[in-house]
Amino acid sequence: MSERVAVRKTYKLFIGGKFPRSESGRSYIVQDANVALASRKDARDAVVAARAAVKGWAGATAYNRGQILYRVAEMLEGRRDQFVALGAPADEVDAAIDRWVWYAGWADKLPQVYGGANPVAGPYFNLSAPEPTGVVAVVAPGAPALLGLVSVIAPAIVTGNTVVVAASPDAPLVAVTLAEVLATSDLPGGVVNILTGRISETAPTLAAHMDVNAIDLTGVADAELAADLEVRAAENLKRVLRPAPAGHDWFADPGVARMTVLLETKTVWHPKGV
């Protein structure tokens, strides 16, 4: 009896909740799989999808976002072995799942911790509350592939941002597999968009895009490229998260900074009178 012939997976982009091929028709091979090689046009399409998703996602209740993120963790847990099979160490996969759950719980707490009433010297109600900045471009770190990816996506979206992620060119299979998790977790299409391919191709487009509000350069290893992207980002004053320092410990408690840098604080005043 001959060995069963496996059904192979095509690793495609994740844009607007769908899995298209690159519009350029290009792909490259990683771990014996064909992976879409995203073009600048794909990056622009992803920004359009991310922008379209902002209203619904930012406008969803924090409780709802927390529920959906928790659902993602459930799906991740179910696919645990699949990530291990792709080469992610088991302890990293566990940490990634735990990280995701940790962030899920922040959805309805960060506004309380990071906002609040301000005791102004006058007859005014004065409240500061954080809001998502909008569309965030993310250059994901290459290693640890899953924990790194989770650690940059979850803090961005839990507060209501949508993201366009340039996955590490060396670890696209983990990224696309995560996209499959997201696609089956009630996460609205467009909240997370994942581009596989060359950072040098997609990141400059995202950094210069005038409809992107922030850029996370965490995964940019080349200091010169990072500086160039930051210069491009200045054109519309994107909020910038600079590259992680070498040797960054992804297993450590991440703190709230990854969330807060992608938030805008809105302060509302109103007189108190009769």
């Binding site: 006058g122 007859p123 005014y124 007189p271 108190k272 009178g273 009769v274």
Partner: protein, 319 residues
């Protein structure tokens, strides 16, 4: 301002015929934000009025004083003396103007009338069961007629605050209308007793109600409740007379009463009049101060401006 308020005069005269129309109109007036109104009033209070402007303001303020005594202990002797002071506030200085009016209880009107006869000083009488207004309507009207018959040419009535706060606008309106009729040729000042109305929204509504019903003046207070005239209350009333004239063409006067004791206070009010309704109201015919001790402070400051030295209370008459 609602669209209704800017419509033609004839429309407004219809309002008094129905409780519903009155309510709809009064509750359609724009709201007043307390903090904003108080800040504007405070800001107007920071104007610095010096030298010639101050001298001019003091004389104007003297001419606007409704020199008032409303005490159970008032006697013919007391009110005659007050009337004499109204005519010649500063016996030492003939250039000092006379006050706007003397304001007394109805029973005191005849004694004041004797003194003021032939002068340009008006004679105001409170009426309508002042200060509470808690008397049967026919008693209030009799009170009014008696004061006019005795020589008062201005009547300061109180509105029925109970009815107003209970939302019985028609009742308040009708009472003003009949009191106005009872006044004959005398001018009617309608006291809102703003200290009991509690909110600026109510002050604005009561102002409009009084004007719609025919009041010639709207006045803040009786002076008999803890909160009398304030800058922001007067500001809201000034805005009301301004808007009422824009809507109807009829000009109504404003009289803050009670609590205005110093020249500095009086000048703040004049600045507020000047910058809110303009020079048309900077006249004793359209703006008055209901006050008693204010006059002596005005006189002291006036003397200081002319002599350059600060006067003392012993140099001014106490009546």
């Amino acid at each position: 301002m609602t669209a209704t308020a800017t419509s033609a005069r004839s429309d407004l005269s219809e309002l008094g015929r129905s409780e519903t129309a009155l309510r709809t109109f009064l509750h359609g007036l724009p709201g007043v934000d307390q903090v904003g109104a108080e800040q504007r009033a405070a800001q107007l209070g920071t104007r610095s009025i010096k030298t010639t402007a101050k001298a001019q303001a003091i004389d104007l303020a003297i001419r606007m004083v409704d020199l008032t005594t409303l005490e159970g202990a008032d006697t013919p002797g007391k009110v005659r003396a007050l009337a004499a002071k109204a005519l010649r506030p500063d016996p030492a200085d003939p250039s000092c103007p006379h006050v706007g009016a003397v304001c007394v209880y109805p029973a005191m009107v005849p004694y004041v009338a004797e003194v003021l006869r032939g002068s340009a000083v008006h004679l105001a009488s409170v009426a309508t069961a002042f200060p509470s207004g808690q008397a049967p309507l026919d008693v209030k009207l009799a009170d009014t007629r008696a004061a006019v018959a005795a020589g008062a040419d201005e009547i300061d009535m109180v509105i029925n605050r109970g009815a107003f706060l209970a939302g019985r606008y028609q009742e308040v309106y009708d009472e003003i209308v009949v009191t106005k009729e009872a006044c004959g040729d005398a001018h009617l000042k309608v006291i809102l007793e703003t200290g009991e109305l509690a909110t600026y929204d109510n002050v604005r509504r009561a102002s409009w109600l009084a004007m719609l019903a025919g009041g010639d003046f709207i006045k803040t207070s009786t002076g008999k409740v803890p909160i009398a005239a304030t800058m922001p209350v007067t500001l809201v009333m000034l805005e009301a007379v301004r808007d009422f004239r824009a809507a109807t063409g009829r000009q109504v006067g404003v009289k803050p009463a009670g609590g205005i004791r110093t020249t500095k206070d009086a000048i703040k009010y004049l600045v507020m009049v000047n910058e809110t309704v303009g020079p048309d109201w900077l006249d004793p015919d359209w703006f008055r101060f209901g006050a008693s001790s204010l006059l002596n402070d005005l006189l002291m400051q006036r003397t200081k401006l002319t002599t350059g030295v600060y006067a003392g209370p012993d140099y001014f008459t106490l009546d």
